[in-house]
């Protein structure tokens, strides 16, 4: 458990470096404007990402990798609506490997190689969960687009679309018919 202890000890530094590396994935026109924004309402994702990063490292150190901390879940939600390819959006999870290795030190890592392998596997597990979440978020977006269309809020652009109430009535009738037929 030597490496995990080292992770726990250095979690603040690891999280910080990890965050720095996440930032490099952003567009150059973006700006480092939220530096001073500690308020979770004024800089919602700054809060989520910071807390998320730290808690993820904590969990990694404790070997509890069955799920991601809620702050990181929120952060992935944001990545899912920013203009990233999936690999870019989720790739940052894997950077945790290099950063952890660097902070723990190569010697310590080599000396406890089997433990390191377990840690790497845990990071993979976390990353795959992040990917699942990312995909779920993308699907949610499409679902919301569909819902918006169905609810009658999106009909405008094509003019004369049947209303939500009409649709509901219509659908209900169809279901009734189907039920009758099935009987």
């Amino acid at each position: 458990m030597i490496l995990r202890e080292a992770l726990a000890e250095n979690r603040v530094i690891i999280a910080e470096k990890w965050l720095d590396s996440i930032l490099t994935s952003y567009h150059e026109d973006g700006a480092r404007f939220f530096k001073k924004q500690k308020d979770r309402f004024a800089n919602p994702l700054g809060y989520n990402a910071r807390m998320g990063a730290e808690r993820t490292v904590e969990r990694l150190a404790a070997g509890e990798v069955s799920d991601l901390p809620p702050e990181l879940v929120q952060f992935i939600k944001l990545r899912a609506v920013q203009t990233f390819k999936p690999s870019e959006a989720i790739g940052f999870m894997y950077e945790l490997k290099q950063i952890s290795a660097k902070v723990c030190g190569m010697d310590l890592m080599a000396a406890n190689f089997s433990e390191w392998q377990a840690i790497e596997a845990d990071i993979d597990k976390l990353a795959l969960q992040a990917f699942d979440l990312f995909m779920a978020d993308r699907e949610l977006i499409y679902k919301i687009k569909l819902e918006e269309f169905k609810s009658g809020n999106a009909g405008t652009a094509n003019g004369g679309c049947p209303s939500g109430a009409v649709l509901r009535k219509h659908n209900a009738e169809k279901i009734e018919l189907k039920v009758i037929r099935d009987c």
Partner: protein, 553 residues
């Protein structure tokens, strides 16, 4: 109320760079270009729609319709487009003192910068309100100030170019005219005003978005932005009445286009056809039935909202004129308006000036309580929340709060009623009387500092869904907070665009929270004459707290 402990956030939070964006800009803002990619722009207006609208308005207000591709570098503009824009700017400077002052007075202190939900959500520095205005100021300086003419870029001036036009199109359609920045500006500079002018100028060369123009076209022709024809509209409300009968046992037959009614009721047409607006509409129907109000709907003026206000002054006036025209034709005494945001910006701040004076109407007087709405003496139009609050205050409504016990509510101040009207207490007063549990979001995200839904001013379209989710994040985040802390499951509001777009926003960020209009909960709480003995469901057929075996009732 919300209070977060300092240690809860940790001290390090302050030092790190932003998660939203990250990199420091390497170029000065005049050197970066707007790049259009699928998902970051709304689709352009259809030529046939532009053509129709051109005929409706004075010449020049809309440029000639043309086919154009937003992503390409040739927008197929008229040859003299620069001249048209610059002349248009000159004309607007002469017509609006606000524009002159806002062009000249900014000191770039930065107080507005982090107040914009678009900036907070996208991290794009040109979404800072000050930069949004600088996009236009730079051209203003070049064309109309000595310093700009002589010193050029040193004075922050630049000529009108295609690059600038692209920036205008991108950033004037990434602003919802919510006016939050204006609250914090030491000179009251209002980006809504800048954005309105920017959009007007873009229309001069027919650079526009369909999601604004087609609703405008529909509103003008069919009376409502959806393009619903009169019979469909009526049929729709009949369906709602059937639902009401099923839920409450009360049969309601509202009247349409009825001459001689006392009150004309106008609400955004989304309340007739879109979820969850229709439930709000059911609330209105129940309330009016409860009171025995002598009112009528109109198919001709069936749109409270005014997408014209997202277009230009002429279009706003043209659409708004229907309200008074119909009121006069039907011979009503005054107009009652439903829950809507920008509709109330127009009614409160523009209507009387634009289409008044409404001498054919009487000062609004509640037939139930006798209250004369002095604050609406000239415009003669009353907000449903004012009307309802007055009824409750006089004890004229029989309410059963517990019917809303399945809802733990937070109230979202819609931008326009909050910052262009000052309607803050009425909805809260109503809430006090119709729900048992409601909690405020953190102080700097409500009332005059409320965060926008991120999809107003015609930006509530599907092709920019991701952008909307980002822009609405500050709002969603505050909801998340009360959801976590108080189990809030309902976000109440008084705006039709909110009802539609916050539903999508909540669906993504805080899926357990539903969005509903205040009037829906009023309707649900009303004890109607002759209603069923046991109310099993709410207006959206949702289970009530007692009916699930909670034995609350």
């Amino acid at each position: 109320m919300a209070d977060i402990k300092a240690d809860e956030l940790g001290t390090r939070v302050a030092r790190d760079p932003s998660m939203m964006t990250g990199g420091v800009p390497t170029k000065e803002w005049m050197d970066t270009e707007a790049v259009f990619k699928p998902g970051n722009y709304c689709y352009q207006g259809k030529p046939e729609v532009v053509d129709y609208l051109r005929k409706e308005l004075p010449p020049g207000v809309f440029g000639p319709a043309h086919e154009w591709d937003i992503e390409s570098d040739d927008w197929n503009l008229p040859d003299n487009w620069k001249e048209i824009i610059v002349n248009g700017l000159k004309e607007r400077l002469d017509k609006f003192r606000s524009l002159k002052i806002f062009m000249d007075c900014c000191v770039r202190c930065g107080a507005c910068a982090d107040k914009c939900h678009f900036f907070l959500g996208t991290g794009d520095p040109k979404n800072m309100p000050v930069m949004r205005a600088e996009l236009m100021r730079s051209v203003y300086r070049h064309e109309f100030t000595k310093a700009g003419k002589i010193l050029g870029r040193m004075a922050g001036a630049r000529p009108m170019t295609f690059k600038v036009l692209k920036e205008w199109f991108m950033y004037y359609y990434q602003c919802t005219e919510c006016r939050r920045c204006s609250v914090f500006c030491p000179y009251g500079i209002d980006t809504a005003e800048i954005t309105m002018m920017g959009r007007e100028l873009l229309h001069l060369v027919a650079v526009n978005i369909n999601w604004v123009l087609e609703p405008v076209y529909n509103s003008s022709r069919t009376g409502n932005h959806m393009g619903l024809q009169p019979h469909t509209l009526k049929e729709n409300v009949e369906y709602l009445c059937e639902d009401i009968e099923e839920i409450t046992g009360v049969k309601i037959t509202p009247s349409w286009n009825r001459k001689g009614a006392e009150i004309l009721f106008i609400t955004p047409s989304a309340d007739f056809f879109a979820e969850p607006g229709i439930y709000t509409c059911m609330g209105y129907l129940l309330l009016f039935e409860h009171l025995g109000l002598d009112y009528t709907f109109s198919t001709y003026a069936s749109e409270g909202g005014n997408f014209g206000s997202f277009t230009n002054n002429e279009m706003m006036k043209k659409l708004n004129g229907k309200m008074y025209a119909e009121a006069e034709r039907l011979g009503v005494k005054w107009i009652l308006g439903g829950e809507c945001g920008h509709m109330w910006r127009v009614v409160h701040q523009y209507m009387s000036t634009m289409t008044g004076p409404a001498d054919f109407l009487e000062a609004p007087k509640s037939p139930i309580t006798g209250t004369v709405f002095e604050n609406a003496a000239a415009t003669k139009m009353v907000h449903i929340s004012e009307f309802t609050a007055d009824l409750i205050h006089h004890g004229k409504l029989k309410l059963d709060k517990s019917r809303n016990d399945h809802r733990i509510v937070t109230f979202h101040d819609s931008c326009n009623p909050a910052r262009a009207m000052g309607l803050l207490e009425e909805p809260r007063y109503i809430l006090d009387h119709i729900v048992n549990k409601h909690y405020e979001m953190p102080e700097n995200t409500i009332r005059e500092k409320t965060f926008c839904c991120g999809s107003g001013t015609g930006l509530n379209t599907g092709e920019i869904m991701e952008l909307r989710m980002r822009a609405g994040l500050p709002r969603a985040n505050a909801v998340q907070y009360v959801h976590d802390k108080y189990d809030v499951n309902t976000m109440a509001c008084v705006c039709a665009i909110d009802r539609a777009t916050l539903s999508a926003l909540m669906g993504y960020w805080v899926p357990d929270v539903e969005v509903c209009g205040i009037s829906e909960m009023v309707g649900n709480a009303l004890i109607m004459d002759g209603e069923k003995e046991v109310r099993e469901t709410g207006l959206r057929f949702e289970a009530l707290a007692g009916s699930e075996g909670d034995a609350d009732v």
